[in-house]
Assembly symmetry: C2
Homo-oligomer: 432 residues x 2
């Protein structure tokens, strides 16, 4: 019998509790597959007295998470505290400094400090793994860093935030507006009381930079992600998109543009036949486009105690098996500083939606601004206005550079008849 791999677990929220329960419930299965038992020996959380429905008897307790890293009965540290800085970062640094492998689900921390932590882990000869940080239970870190390892990745894109996808698909399925569905998601525990992190695209951006670093061998560069969320998407947009044969999804996308790297998070019109259009509710999916493998699609549960614990334990098994792999696929010193590509250089069709005063001449004013910027109109729709709703104007452009569309929108936004900031969504082409 090989000696057990002893885990120090920081954070006993939903995911931490899930990891404890799953290691217990599947102990024999995990031992058979890992080649040795994996056991939690010590835990840490903010409030020792809180009732969690967990049996913590037999586990050492540390009030200070970083103390886990120094315990002689801890071989591997699992960080499920959360937050880009603070106790999570202190613990991560302490674990690595002690030469102990670190497993984390903390995308915010890695998006901001991933390059530093990867370099430190490498210098210390230990592992940094984060399968649970992106797309919950979907083994996409492994798929990208190991499964697609022979490929030159050209693009990685996906639905990376279950809250946003739940809201968008519930709006479509139930014909309800954003605020109503958000409130319901909050009641159901699918959205936070302060939902900004999710619905403003920040959580998606955190995950995207980790995928991009793995895909392109670049340093995680959160500051260069152009990020927009879904607050501005209204039911009429979803209905119009549907009429055009598309679905609205919040997409994180990273792609090579010569030497530069484009990273953006924004709502996008996805063709109904595209694999990302079929992703419903809180599920996640990632499309990895590589040469020569073509498009690989990974789909599954993006969050939740069980799926996320599944990903954390996959990392623990890899460590138990002795796998050693640089955190971002290549040595930290080899990670390139890719300049940020200009999102406006993108060419394609675009969806524009304006909220306008219901008076004559609006169309002429808007059309003139588009013409002046060299944007050619494929179709123009004016959904019937109701008493409660202001008048909307929906424009689909022909294929052209996004820069021209943005210039036109600046001029359009300045028109007195335009009542709210215009919404711009790119229209994705083709299937996977």
């Amino acid at each position: 019998m090989a000696s057990p791999l002893r885990i120090g677990l920081a954070g006993l929220g939903t995911v931490g509790a899930g990891v404890l329960r799953l290691l217990d419930a599947h102990a024999a299965l995990v031992e058979a597959r890992a080649g040795r038992p994996i056991v939690v020996t010590a835990v840490s959380a903010r409030d020792r007295g809180r009732e969690r429905g967990l049996d913590l008897a037999g586990l050492a307790w540390e009030d200070d998470a970083a103390a886990l890293a120094r315990r002689p009965d801890v071989d591997v540290v699992v960080e499920l505290v959360g937050g880009a800085d603070g106790p999570a970062l202190t613990l991560a640094r302490a674990a690595i400094a002690a030469g102990k492998p670190l497993v984390t689900a903390n995308k915010a921390m890695l998006a901001h400090h991933g390059a530093e932590l990867a370099a430190a882990a490498e210098a210390a000869g230990t592992a940094l793994r984060f399968e649970a940080a992106v797309a919950g239970g979907i083994p996409v870190i492994k798929g990208l860093a190991e499964g697609a390892v022979a490929n030159r990745v050209v693009r990685v894109s996906g639905i990376l935030n279950g809250t946003c996808n739940y809201i968008l698909t519930a709006m479509e399925a139930e014909g309800r507006d954003f605020a109503e569905v958000l409130a319901e998601a909050q009641r159901l525990g699918l959205a936070e009381a302060d939902p900004g992190f999710d619905i403003d695209g920040i959580d998606t951006a955190h995950k995207l930079v980790l995928l991009a670093a793995l895909a392109f061998g670049t340093r995680p560069a959160f500051a260069s992600v152009e990020t927009a969320g879904i607050r501005a998407v209204c039911l009429a947009d979803i209905e119009q998109a549907r009429a055009l044969g598309h679905r609205v999804r919040l997409i994180g996308l990273a792609e090579r543009r010569g030497e530069a790297l484009l990273q953006e998070v924004r709502p996008v019109l996805v063709p109904a036949t595209h694999p990302l259009a079929a992703v419903e509710g809180p599920r996640n999916a990632v499309v990895v486009e590589g040469e020569p493998v073509g498009a690989l699609v990974f789909e599954g549960a993006g969050a939740g105690a069980g799926p996320t614990a599944s990903a954390v334990i996959a990392d623990l098994v890899a460590i138990a098996r002795g796998e050693r792999l640089p955190a971002f696929g290549v040595p930290a010193a080899a990670l390139a500083e890719a300049p940020a590509a200009d999102p406006a250089a993108r060419a394609g069709r675009h969806y524009l939606r304006l909220v306008v005063a219901d008076r004559p001449g609006v169309l002429a004013d808007v059309a003139a601004r588009l013409r002046d910027a060299g944007v050619s109109i494929e179709s123009l729709l004016q959904p019937a206005a109701s008493e409660e709703q202001p008048a909307l104007l929906v424009i689909v452009t022909h294929r052209g550079p996004e820069g021209a569309v943005r210039r036109a929108l600046e001029a359009i936004a300045a028109l007195p008849v335009v009542l709210e900031p215009p919404l711009l969504m790119p229209i994705l082409e083709g299937g996977a």
Copy 2:
């Protein structure tokens, strides 16, 4: 600079040539990710003189593939010869006996001899890897054995043969019948001159038993797969399925039934909203249903030089990185001998299609046999017969045991008015 990993490559067909080309084209990328160069030093193929458009200068040649295993300048053997026995098996045994890791895309060999080879590799302290043997470029072996490692898998199913999926989706898209599309697929190189291996479901069955072994920790058991192919599926079936909101797909499915293991390959009616329904053309997809992760979907190119080479090289990189993992996820001695479950014990709705003489009383005869077997009819359709086509009768049953449906079909097949063997397809429920 770490010393190169030296490869002996047997088989220079499409995939072998693809591996040579990709290792050359992506040499720097593979070296950065593998931590050392991966270079082919020696090759073997049937006919040395054949023009392959490959530059073999600088590579040693062996007429006898098994001699690759004995070469001191070969660290790892890649077997792309094919065939369940013969030279491929001789080479595999020789490589393992020499203590050299074996990478193979040979599902037929592993389906028949996988347990023996896994045990031999383990005894020799070397690796046996086969990412390319299932679903081409999709890293589903890794996804199952490593990504989903913490899960108790309850079912694994998928579209595992690109030829069949191409034929079924082309029939649907173009409204053409089986024989016509098969002939075209043969012209396009998407189907073999002797297509039986693919269209009779044997290739799918080979892949299925490898997925099942990994998913359930059982010995690969090809003999216990109940296998049916797509020869009997006609255009009318596909059109009727579509009218019922379904698509026809050739599905390999393995699932736990208590202590027993069900393994079957057959055409199935898949709901249009199911992820497998969206898989078009020669693409493959695998759904892994595990507890607690839920359904994970892996989709991508199931064949072709580039995608398959991508999978072969992923295995080589894992070996270069020093990863050691039992071939089927757990030690060979721990692989269980699961008894085969009775497919007829399955409960669900069923699609039956009969070719009948166009005369009065047929319906009454058929309905009586179904009633006698206790099968309850949900709907009965008689697509309009034409002069060229015989009369068809399509029946959808209510949910019930497949055993009863099979009994009814035996009696129905014996009716003089029934002109061909009836076609039975299960109707899959729900989404992923």
